[in-house]
């Protein structure tokens, strides 16, 4: 019979979350997420494969097309890997498409003169610098990540065209190896495994999740919030740099218009994989699934003869639908 202490509105929400089906509860408990994050993406992936296999039995399920899909999704997954970390921390990185192009061009220009190794270093370094710029503007100057990276999207694309003088640059053999079988598979595997370990088995990964889950709790638990935020964008930049190298390798040349709109594809991969934009949960494997979904979707549409204009419409609709399903609306009171 002591005092009725002030009531926590959030507790009603906690109770509302409890009823779940047995399977969903199991999956949710195991990975700390909800069923939208874990079951739906896999189901969507399988459904897509079945649908396209039935619609185009002679062209979709072939070894050649499978290889094409895997290489294409590897590029998306590498770029989306960095975005995954940023999104789990509750922020967003819209600049990755342009950073991919800028890194590719810079790497190619240097590689032509000084060899592939120098090219790789410069490519990754370019991405790192762009990410560092994003991170400092966001974490120290407090410009919202949406705006900073939107600005960088434009800056990096402009620099790409300036540096390349609007001309594609052929890449030497060393870099080209990064974009074809088996090089691209090795690079993607190393990057994704390293990303998964970073997220689950290091303090940095935990801090990322905690910041996305509730930044004040993180800061009151001694998490160096600003440092982690800068590292997050740095990581995203490096991943985009690696994406630029791989993409240039696959095409055989770095082009100034490469990866136009890839930020949307990458974010779509993250969200379709079940990592909600509200932050705090998500994973690298989710993003791999998401990258496969978006790649297969676009690939299937091409095979079915859908025009590229309609593909853009499709990609946009899919992105909005994915957010619609995955967004945890209870977590945000007002959506702007």
């Amino acid at each position: 019979m002591t005092q009725n202490r002030s009531m926590v509105a959030d507790e009603g929400e906690a109770l509302a979350v409890l009823p779940q089906s047995g399977l969903a509860r199991l999956v949710g408990t195991v990975s700390g997420g909800r069923w939208q994050q874990n079951v739906l993406p896999f189901a969507a992936l399988i459904l897509l494969v079945i649908t396209f296999s039935i619609a185009a039995p002679d062209r979709f399920p072939t070894v050649k097309n499978l290889n094409f899909i895997l290489i294409q999704s590897a590029v998306v997954a590498i770029v989306a890997l960095g975005v995954t970390f940023v999104v789990i921390s509750g922020s967003i990185d819209l600049s990755v498409g342009s950073v991919v192009a800028l890194s590719g061009i810079c790497a190619a220009l240097v590689a032509v003169e000084h060899g592939a190794v120098a090219g790789v270093i410069v490519g990754l370094g370019t991405g790192a610098l762009a990410g560092l710029f994003n991170g400092i503007c966001f974490a120290y100057l407090k410009v919202p990540s949406f705006i900073v990276t939107l600005g960088t999207l434009s800056i990096a694309r402009g620099l790409t065209i300036l540096v390349s003088k609007s001309q594609p640059v052929l890449v030497p053999e060393g870099i080209a190896q990064l974009g074809v079988t088996p090089g691209i598979y090795i690079v993607a595997a190393i990057a994704l495994v390293a990303g998964a370990i970073l997220l689950r088995y290091t303090s940095f990964g935990r801090y990322t999740t905690a910041i996305g889950g509730q930044e004040t709790v993180a800061s009151h638990s001694g998490v160096p919030v600003r440092r982690v935020k800068i590292l997050l964008f740095l990581l995203s930049g490096v991943a985009a740099g690696l994406g630029g190298l791989v993409l240039a390798g696959r095409v055989g040349a770095a082009t100034p218009t490469a990866a136009m709109g890839m930020e949307l594809t990458a974010i779509a991969a993250v969200v379709l994989g079940g990592t909600p934009l509200t932050g705090g949960i998500g994973g690298v494997i989710n993003t791999v699934v998401g990258a496969l979904i978006i790649t297969i979707l676009l690939n299937g549409l091409v095979i079915l003869g859908v025009s590229s204009e309609l593909q853009m419409v499709c990609q946009g609709l899919v992105l909005i639908t994915a957010v619609l399903i995955s967004l945890d609306r209870r977590k945000i009171g007002i959506i702007k």
Partner: protein, 503 residues
């Protein structure tokens, strides 16, 4: 006026998960007469906010029997309550700072100057001028941005907004907290005029002297129920304090424990500390194994004091020493490195990450020391937190469960578990048992006691007097940011005595 009361609350129940905020049963209700100034008093959490929230249409109760002017009253929204003639001036600011005064005055009530969907700003300005004139607010211009006004003028603009539509009931909730002495007198004058015109004023204030000066009748709330309603001439401040806090039975949740040695070391020394606008000239010593209680009303500065010790706020004046060494943490990270921990009042936004597994929450603050070269396996954390889950009796499905799925008391235990991975020098507790049911409270008290016996120096900031008196070895009371008194060891003050130093 007939003798039928204007507003009658016969029956009102509002439950929140784990707690009953208001429980007014038939026969124990309260009636309010037109033209009277009627005070609602009670401790933090007595149910005042829920009650006026119901009247204002922002809280929907589980059960209600309320009538306004003899007609059943059950507004579904704030606008509906306003249309029925109930206006509220709230404690926190109710103006949109980026809109003009005139826009604020008629926000949601644009129909007064709207024709066929179009607004007529000139008409709005004229009406606004009229509303401001009625309160003699000559130094406020209708076109001024509300955010450019000082707090006192903002509150009066809110009052003008409430009065312009000729309410039958005006609820004034803790408005004087943001007013100067002159502002308070001006407010009283307005309220008396309105009462003379037949408006019912429901007045809420922590400051009892104001209540006695202004109000005709006083209703005392405690633990969500109406204790009594009396004419203000029939009681004095002491009697009122007793009615507010008096309890028939003392719970047996506190045990007389071994008190710390007189000679134990001073761990934390706070010397002349101040943060402008929150507290000033606060000094005390906190010894190893001691629980120092801080009593005070909401807004007395105790919360900021706790945050300053934890490095989440910085002192403007004075200094601190930890273990004899100067201590000026710039952020919680530095405080934690020196062994200072903080259990916040709002555990859901400051204590735990609701959607992160318990195991990861528990080690979050200690990860710096647990990880090797930045690496840390989740398995080790689950192992570690399993012990703490058992030790603290956290009921959950295991270390991978989310705090989101736990009750308030269990969430709070997760927060405490977080600070048990490493030993602290100083543990700041702010309302450690808020929103926790009775059984869980006793369990938390046992944990706090045992941490103290292990030698941690505990600063206990609480709105719960019983908790303060039961746990603290010493007690300081804050009144408007200053230490008003200190109750030394073994002085065993009564609740009434402590309250008299808070208000």
């Amino acid at each position: 006026m007939s003798d039928q009361p204007l507003l009658q609350i016969r029956h009102l129940v509002k439950k929140y998960p784990g707690t009953v905020a208001v429980n007014i049963q038939p026969g124990h209700g309260v009636s309010f007469a037109a033209g009277s100034i009627h005070a609602l008093v009670g401790e933090n959490g007595a149910g005042k906010s829920t009650l006026i929230g119901t009247l204002g249409g922002v809280v929907s109760p589980d059960e209600r029997g309320i009538s306004l002017d003899g007609v059943a009253f059950s507004p579904k929204s704030a606008p509906e309550a306003r249309d029925l003639g109930i206006e509220t001036v709230r404690q926190d600011s109710g103006l949109v700072p980026t809109l003009t005064v005139a826009e604020n005055l008629f926000l949601g009530r644009e129909s007064a100057f709207k024709k066929a969907g179009f607004l007529f700003p000139a008409k709005r300005r004229a009406l606004a001028a009229q509303a401001l004139d009625a309160l003699e607010l000559h130094d406020v211009r209708p076109n001024q941005l509300a955010g450019s006004l000082d707090l006192e003028r903002q509150k009066f603009v809110e009052l003008a907004r409430a009065l312009f539509f000729n309410p039958r009931v005006l609820i004034v909730d803790e408005m004087t907290a943001s007013l100067s002495r002159r502002g308070v007198q001006r407010l009283f004058k307005v309220l008396r005029e309105q009462a003379a015109r037949g408006v019912l004023i429901i007045y809420i204030s922590h400051y009892l002297e104001e209540v006695f000066e202004l109000c005709d009748r006083i209703t005392v709330l405690k633990d969500g129920t109406v204790v009594t309603t009396v004419p203000s001439g029939d009681v004095d401040e002491d009697q009122l304090s007793t009615l507010m806090v008096g309890r028939s039975t003392r719970e047996s949740m506190f045990h007389e424990e071994l008190r710390p040695e007189e000679s134990s070391d001073v761990v934390l020394r706070v010397d002349g500390a101040g943060i402008s606008g929150a507290f000033e000239d606060v000094s005390f010593d906190l010894r190893s194994g001691e629980i120092l209680g801080v009593a005070g009303l909401v807004g007395c500065g105790s919360e900021e004091l706790g945050l300053a010790v934890f490095g989440a706020r910085q002192l403007d004046a004075g200094s601190m020493q930890l273990d004899g060494v100067p201590y000026a943490p710039k952020n919680p990270r530095q405080a934690i490195a020196r062994g200072v921990a903080h259990v916040p009042s709002d555990r859901d936004t400051h204590g735990v990450v609701l959607r992160m597994p318990i195991a990861e929450n528990v080690v979050l603050a200690a990860l710096r020391w647990l990880s090797r070269l930045g690496f840390r396996a989740p398995g080790q954390d689950r192992h570690r937190s399993r012990d703490l889950i058992r030790e603290l009796g956290i009921s959950c499905r295991g270390p991978r469960d989310l705090p989101l799925n736990l009750s308030g008391g269990n969430r709070q235990r997760v927060v405490i578990a977080k600070w048990m991975v490493r030993d602290n020098r100083v543990l700041v507790l702010h309302n450690p048992t808020r929103g926790v049911d009775v059984g869980a409270k006793a369990e938390l008290y046992r944990v706090i006691r045992s941490l103290s016996q292990a030698g941690q120096a505990i600063l206990l900031i609480s709105d719960d007097l019983q908790e303060l008196l039961g746990l603290s070895d010493r007690l300081i009371a804050l009144r408007r940011g200053r230490i008003s008194t200190e109750f030394p060891k073994d002085s065993s003050p009564t609740e009434e005595l402590v309250v008299s130093h808070m208000i």
